[in-house]
Symmetry: D2
Subunit: 481 residues, 4 copies
């Protein structure tokens, strides 16, 4: 079996943690129970790119249990849990370190950018039952990197050439170009034939979804996409409650600094920002919010937070967290004004929310590692700023990401979305879709028992009165929860 992970010896520990996580992921367990016999993903070749954590391991093995052939890479160079990767590779049912029987994984904690894109490419190398090289027929993406690889591949193949690496300043994009150049050299029609086979992609996160809508708007989208991010049970749970959990967890593990009594700035008050602000307030911090959207700004004010421009408070705060999904939020001029030992981290999707490049260019600044994923940036005058996970996702880099229970919601949506796009292909012409509301409600329903929730049932009269079915869906499409 081909794979590339840090150390298969971690598989036993990974397996123990996977078993613990399964208890916390009732939605995925229900998927196995409900669909295990029917094998709805039989024939699916799923190329996945999503943080290779313990929770993702439960997702991967659920996809396998539903019949799929799966290959996996991570979507973030720091977020891989090496024991999770190892356990997935070794597999269940008699797989061993010597003779692994699980799913090919291409991920380890701390990849370089070059390695990241080399490994990403490998999730496209399936072998069919006859032993032929084939591509995937479904993608499962987080942030859109492998979706981009296919789209750029097709675009460059059509153009007959890949732009030169020095056509871009972006270090990461240079690697993308390098990988595609190599690919075109080897096989100038590869991505075009891969794209033709893909029934669709299910995309996990805001940033990736945004890219998909852009492509669809400009007419360049190559296959249908299901926007998992905007299922209520994803966006309102993973983004909000997941970050409530993992933000303070990440800060604590990274710094051990008391959050209570501190002034914390949360940039952005979308779902991630809402969960982040609650997380910090729950620990006794005084939270200040920055926002560009007047509606979210008003929500923050009504929730009791001070709402200011970053410039107005940058010299008074102790902790800074970006949650915007935008870029260049915290810049060199902000770092220059921060207090000594201010802590700066990002829980939005990309590392460019914090201008790390700008920070590195401050004359005389020195970067010093305190421990992995925690660095001091020391100014010439001795002032130190602590930056978490080099500006990448701190909850994944400094802690273990969202907890299993909340990921069970997101990932049950993923499984349902994979089934939709793979089995009902004709219902999904090229476009971007959210899952129908009754599936969204079903995901929620599968997680209630574990919390001891008793759900009230509508009487037929009550259902008629509000014009819904007794079994739902209960709300109009535009309902905001």
């Amino acid at each position: 079996m081909d794979y590339k992970v840090a150390d298969l010896g971690l598989a036993d520990f990974g397996r123990t943690e996977i078993e613990l996580a399964e208890h916390e992921m009732p939605g995925l367990m229900a998927m196995r129970e409900r669909y295990g016999a029917a094998q709805p993903l039989k024939g699916a070749r799923i190329a996945g790119s999503l943080h290779m954590t313990i929770q993702t391991a439960v997702l991967i093995e659920t996809l396998v249990d539903l019949g799929a052939d799966v290959r996996w890479a991570t979507c973030n160079i720091f977020s891989t849990q090496d024991h999770a990767a190892a356990a997935v590779v070794v597999g269940r049912n008699g797989g061993t370190v010597e003779n692994p029987s699980g799913v090919p994984v291409f991920a380890w904690k701390g990849e370089t950018l070059a390695e990241y894109w080399d490994e990403a490419e490998k999730v496209f190398d399936f072998t069919d039952e006859s032993g032929n090289s084939v591509g995937p027929n479904v993608l499962l993406d987080d942030g859109g990197d492998i979706t981009m690889l296919v789209h750029l591949g097709v675009e460059f193949e059509k153009a007959g050439a890949v732009p030169a690496q020095d056509s871009t300043d972006n270090e990461e994009f240079k690697e993308v170009l390098r990988v595609l150049e190599r690919s075109l050299a080897n096989n100038p029609g590869r991505w075009t034939s891969i794209a033709a086979e893909i029934k669709g992609v299910t995309e996990e996160t805001t940033t990736g979804v945004h890219r998909l809508y852009e492509r669809f708007k400009e007419g360049s989208l190559l296959f249908p996409a299901i926007n998992v991010n905007d299922s209520v049970t994803k966006s309102k749970f993973d983004n909000k409650y997941g970050c409530r959990h993992s933000l303070v967890d990440g800060i604590n593990r990274a710094t051990d600094v008391m959050i209570g009594g501190k002034v914390a700035v949360v940039c952005g008050y979308g779902d991630v920002g809402k969960g982040s602000a609650e997380s910090l307030r729950g620990q006794g911090a005084r939270v200040i919010v920055t926002e560009i959207d007047p509606i979210c700004a008003l929500q923050a004010a009504m929730d009791g937070y001070e709402v200011k421009r970053l410039e107005s408070v940058v010299d008074k705060a102790d902790i800074f967290v970006t949650t915007t999904g935008n870029f260049n939020i915290i810049r060199a001029e902000h770092f220059a004004q921060m207090k000594n030992q201010a802590i700066v981290g990002n829980i939005g999707h990309f590392d460019n929310e914090i201008d790390m490049a700008g920070l590195a260019k401050i004359p005389g600044i020195v970067k010093s590692e305190i421990k992995p994923q925690v660095h001091q940036w020391i100014f010439p005058d001795g002032k130190k700023i602590i930056v978490l996970s080099e500006g990448r996702l701190l909850n994944l880099g400094n802690a273990t990401g969202h907890p299993s229970f909340v990921m069970s919601n997101s990932f049950t949506n993923q499984v349902l979305a994979q089934i939709e796009v793979f089995t009902k292909t004709e219902q999904y012409p090229v476009g971007v879709y959210v899952l129908p509301k009754h599936l969204d409600e079903e995901v929620a329903r599968l997680h209630l028992d574990a919390l001891g929730v008793e759900l009230t049932e509508l009487t037929q009269e009550q259902a008629d009165y509000i014009g819904v079915e007794v079994s739902g869906p209960y709300k109009p499409e535009h309902y905001r929860y």
Copy 2:
């Protein structure tokens, strides 16, 4: 001037309160400043049916300042603030009790159902500049009562007859039939000609909106409707933050019972339920939620609330609040199991969330007034249950409703919606619409200064990066806030 209110002598007090409220309603004040000269509502004859409170007075006078001719009734028999009604009638600019110069209002606190529908009918009696009787050309509705009057009027006129009053058990609907029967007797084409003139209705609340969508679905909607309720700055502010304010205010004024330490059941965890639960928790109550929708139930659990069926907790709780928009939520069998001196109230739209009729039919039960809008229902065994506002909206019946600031958001949406539907008639064929997002954001923006909020501005690069204009709108349509 024709009007019917409790006591014009209250006008001075009402005017003082209106002036205080204006300070808290920056959105409406901005409307006056921005549009006062242009008079976009010149020629509009607005028939309004919405709680006749101080805040509504500021709305009415804003509509007048924008050029409209206005007539007003309430949408709830208990919610009128008599001093507000008086002040609106007396008016500004030299109006006096002897010689009122304001807007005709037909509302007083404590109307009977018969009076309510008699007065509702009067908002349709406009006089044009030549002194002719005409109908309104725009409706502004809350709950859909005057919209229903028009629709039923047209329907019965088409049928040539009104059903007999004893065709219904519903006490209130008997009154509707009575009013329409009288109308048809006088003028069998009246509603049909009124309907023909109406450019549209702007509807304030969930329940009314629901009725509009139903009508539109079944093809019976007669004119376009703007769903003000589902503007984010309405549904997420008025419903949630307004109820957070006014729920405990209503309970406190009604009962003076300490909420801290008590067990409170909130039926429903929509926006109203979310605000209600937060209101009670903020006072130290332990809140239990009931829900039918698994998504909202899961939200309640993640927010730390116990989620149970009413039957499981009805004998252990001290306070019960319905917020569902559905009916028959708290029924006679529930009352029978409650603790002595349990407090029961409704903050959803209609009084049938609590089955008051069923309560009254319990053998041997006696109703005793503690003070206006607060009653004890005494069981034969001496057990007493305290019911607020006879099951109608307790925040309006027992307190003063939502506070001005939150209503300024809702009502600024109303003003913008009135302008849309009146001035851009051709853009709104029959259907149900929400306001475009940029207007929603504008409403929010008009309320930030008052709270000392500093809004961050996108750079052009950042706007490009996320694919929006620097000036917004900032979010996709499906965004849930």
Copy 3:
């Protein structure tokens, strides 16, 4: 029967409210049940001076049920609930408006300062069983006014003269001098003989207790005092949870202004300040605390509040609340800098926390009543400041004070303290005492059932392990809760 109240006709309404309150005052009901037969207060003549509210009515009637003869005045000119006073005077057991049979009360809402002190004096005029004029033998005081009357009376009688009224600038103290001068003229030994009969005083509040410790330190205390305020079940419940309830209640009833999103300054972070800050935060306000004590300031910071000097924030806040027990906290120079329509109120004990006199002296300022207990102070430039209850206790002046349940804790302490000081006189030489901890725990215990609390019982082994009795007390004296 002698009494002086607003209107006995309110007695029926008062009685209904008293019965409702009894349900919320399980501690006092338990006192009646436990001690009703034994009549431990038989022979006690209790002179009381404490806000004449519904809750106090339940206290008074509990004292009567335990055998006491009681006379009552209020301790605050605005706090009397007239229906409560009326009901207490009319009494139970067949008392009527024509022929009242209850307890003599001398209090009505809105007394002048002169009336206040005239009425305060009347609680000393008992008649014994033989019909002779006698004084009280126990005092129950709130703030120390009647205790002061006795002490000053004795002092002036010893001196043979009362200082001239113009020896003081303090308007209120002039009235004290007037009353005592009249008394000395009538009976130059009256207070001396009254004092000789008094077995002790039980004092309700911080301010009164402070005065008692001062007197004791300087050697002038004339009889023993029980400091009820510092029972845990008083100071940590009434002060904190009572104010959490009644602060927002008072602001809401007075102003109807939305608290959510506003900036509120709470001056002082003692128990009253802690409850006040929580009250406002629970409604979504952003709370800023001012403090002089570094320990309380650090607590406020750790609880997530901004801590600033008033001067730094006075021009940015919307709501100001004083809770300090000190004086001259908000002064004319502060008012001058406040925003238009800022709301200012006091929930500490005395009205001098806010310098009302200084406010009134601002050149050109005009005071205008919005409604009773709510005034606008209009500056020459048109700026308006809203002052609640003329700077007196806003929770009593604008709402109904602390709710019954929390007062049941305080007042059960009062009853136990009255029994202690009346029946165990010899155990209390002149001094200031707190109730023994087992009584404090008993008060708490009597309130648990009503909240559905299950108390865990220590095993004998566990009790031995921590060195306490199974039945308590459980904590060392210095424990802070």
Copy 4:
């Protein structure tokens, strides 16, 4: 230099962390600045027994900077941070791994009980300037172990014999007896002479303080003790805010289980319980409290928590935390009823809050390590219970203990207490003392700047009005904060 730690190679990492912690410990830094020159601890030989963490390293080096000679052991076998121990041994000012120049430390993570007591004994082996063996002249203790060693040593020396190890069932006490038996064999007067030199002990925690009061009551206390635990800036900060921080931190690091939506039982609602409940609620858990003290139970109810007996909820909860300071709180019969994968941990002082011995004796139960300090206990039917840190302090065993800022408060009290007891020996006859309130306030004051707090200053008039000095102390001794 003698020492015994895990690995001196960790010293560099420890030093980096110590420097970060110094920023968060402004109180200790202020001590160094204020007293560094005066050297008030010159001549002090301090034997310390307190968790050997990074924060303790800052304390130790502060004591050294004030002139003391120090030897250190831990007070808990799991709590040592090996890099902290290493850094303290290597020291500053040119110490190296090869040639350490710091303070002798005898502690590593994961000692056996036998090792623990062997190392504890070594803190008594000082060498004076002439090179003679001497004992300490001050103790700094946490939990009272080294204080007990001295007292039992003296007692057994007086008796001339140590009881046989099999006279006790307690595994740990067997080790105490072993160590003392060895000591008496070597030097039968050692402890008696050590005790004679000791000027006093400063004790950190509730449990240790409780033992001291017991000894003082029974007349066996050998030297004065300062109760640091009951300084407000310790008990109300370390216990409450420290646990608010470190409880969720410990649970997160140990289990990665989502706390939001879960049911958590907190046994005990003292300061530790209050902080723990807030910690869990801040993450969205529904918290149920158990209590034996009716006052604390009532506080919990008023704070909105359900209060139940453990038996009533043990089968419904997901997380259990003991905070009582008592023993046998969670017993075998409770474990038997818990849900699968319930999480059980202790944040009180001793590991006997959870009956680990009873758990181990359940027939057929199997203990399996998930990772260090996290074990599954697998019942014969397959049910698994997760126990953290083997029942010892989970915040130290599973996370890094209280954060620096809160420990700065506690440890600044320790430094002040060491100075008191060492320099003012004559003012402290044998007894148990708390620090005077002005020192408590000073500790708070030293921590305000770091949080941006502006402290208000009393005017002289205001100070006079409430009868305090402008500079404090501000509250009576009995004040509870």
